[in-house]
């Protein structure tokens, strides 16, 4: 998943159980990935492992071990739809 000033690309991705997702920050500012849509009730801690990314930095999520649908948001752009997406694990 690539992060630019315009948002995440792609917003949605489907992976298999046992895989990780790599987030790459190609923007000129920092971003902060958090699992779930509500910062007060974080979900999918595998996504939060990607966490805070400075420009140029990339980091993997944790390994997804159960089939489900994981929402995520960028904590620095909380209300911007282009920075909210999901990972579907099958």
């Amino acid at each position: 998943m690539t992060i630019t000033g315009a948002g995440m690309t792609p917003l949605e991705i489907t992976i298999s159980i046992g895989q990780r997702v790599t987030f790459v920050n190609n923007d000129t500012r920092a971003h902060d990935l958090v699992g779930g849509v509500d910062p007060n009730n974080p979900d999918c801690p595998e996504i939060t492992q990607a966490g805070f990314l400075t420009p140029g930095q990339s980091r993997d999520t944790g390994v997804f071990i159960t089939p489900r649908r994981c929402e995520y948001h960028d904590h620095t752009m909380l209300s911007v739809p282009a920075f909210q997406g999901r990972i579907i694990i099958r």
């Binding site: 500012r29 920092a30 910062p39 400075t54 140029g56």
Partner: protein, 392 residues
């Protein structure tokens, strides 16, 4: 194109004090009841290089300001002063600001600024001050559409200890960020070197439109007690700030204390300041310590700044009411060492060539993302001043 226009505007700023200086050369003696006009400008233009772990940043940019004052005495006891201060940084910096590792404060495109110093508003100050002597005391009343709230030490761009440094302190938003406050009324009493000021102001920091006035309700309050004697200036101050951050619905308060010292003249001087600031926010208290100084000898100036600042970087973002997850502060330390040499000195101003380097102590929770960053500036500095122009 906008930045080219900004640089043209900046050249006009540079030339303006020169024109005034020529006028000043022909001034005649002024009566105390006449209007006096002064103009002062400062501009850095240079190359900013930020060495980072994953992506380096570099930028050609200019930090600058222009201040003009109109003043008049009424008899021996009263004085009126009208201030206006401008910055052309909305045109000479990128909209996101000047790259500066670990700098925070204000927003860009709705998101908190991280690793950038925001541009200052076009109109930094606009207001008036009236003072009247009453026996041994002086009463001062200030009203500003945009101006400094009675909290914190003098803003960095006006401090002799920071005058040669183009970079804003990392502690700017713990100490002196309220120098551009959209709406301020302050009342003060001065006596025997002591000054007590209290005022109401609009607590929200400037928005992302750098060209407008952000005036609104006077919803925040501050007070400062200071003492000045010769080379020394001490102050303690505190303020309650109504929702100061645009990306947070929570109020905050700030306390500061500082000691400043300046002695010398334009040929040889020493200036330093030590300061403490604490922002008390819903997610915790963030403290900042700063020591900075400038040693000037003939055409040379050495400057340094050491800071230790708690930053909310890992959890910065918009927090609606009710979001109360724990934040993880990061204690960042920085040391800047710089040198400027004046190369052209005329009656209308001085050009200097300078450079500085900043090293950082990175906390464990930021090491993976930041590594061991360093910052470098190479710049031309212009400073111009013209004063006491008599207005017919």
């Amino acid at each position: 194109m906008r930045r080219v226009a900004g640089l043209v505007l900046l050249l006009q700023v540079v030339l303006a004090p020169a024109a005034v200086a020529q006028d000043a050369a022909h001034q005649h003696d002024t009566a105390s009841s006449a209007w006096q006009w002064s103009l002062e400008g400062n501009a850095f233009f240079g190359y900013n290089y930020q060495y980072r772990k994953f992506t380096d940043f570099d930028e050609w940019e200019s930090q600058n300001w222009l201040m003009t004052t109109l003043s008049r005495s009424f008899g021996s006891a009263s004085q009126l002063r009208i201030d206006a201060m401008f910055s052309f940084e909305p045109f000479t910096l990128r909209d996101i600001g000047s790259p500066q590792v670990f700098q925070t404060g204000e927003t860009y495109q709705g998101a908190p600024l991280i690793d950038y110093q925001h541009p200052h508003d076009l109109i930094m100050n606009l207001g008036a001050e009236y003072s009247r002597s009453l026996g041994a005391a002086t009463i001062v009343v200030e009203g500003y559409l945009v101006g400094p709230a009675p909290i914190g030490p003098p803003v960095f761009m006006h401090r002799p200890s920071a005058a040669e440094n183009p970079q804003a302190p990392l502690s700017h938003h713990n100490l002196d960020a309220t120098h551009i406050t959209p709406g301020v009324i302050t009342v003060g009493v001065e006596r025997a070197g002591f000054t007590f000021e209290a005022g109401a102001f609009h607590g929200r920091e400037p928005d992302e439109d750098r060209l407008d006035l952000d005036t609104a309700a006077l919803d925040s309050y501050g007070a400062r007690l200071s003492w000045a004697d010769g080379a020394w200036y001490l102050q303690i101050s505190a303020a309650d700030l109504e929702t100061p951050e645009t990306n947070s619905p929570y109020d905050a308060s700030r306390i500061t204390a500082s000691v400043s010292y300046f002695k010398g003249d334009s040929n040889r001087s020493i200036a330093w300041m030590a300061a403490f600031g604490q922002n008390r926010e819903v997610f915790g208290n963030l403290e900042a310590y700063l020591v900075e100084g400038t040693l000037r000898f003939s055409k040379n100036a050495l400057y340094l700044r050491a800071e230790s600042v708690e930053k909310d970087i890992l959890d910065a973002g918009f927090h609606p009411i009710g979001i109360n997850h724990a934040h993880r502060p990061s204690l960042v330390s920085a040391l800047t060492v710089g040198y400027v040499r004046d190369v052209i000195s005329k009656a209308w101003g001085t050009f200097g060539l300078g450079a500085d380097v900043t090293g950082y102590i990175v906390p464990d929770n930021l090491k993976e993302s930041y590594g061991s960053p360093a910052s470098f500036h190479f710049f031309v500095r212009y400073r111009g001043r013209a004063g006491a122009v008599h207005i017919h």
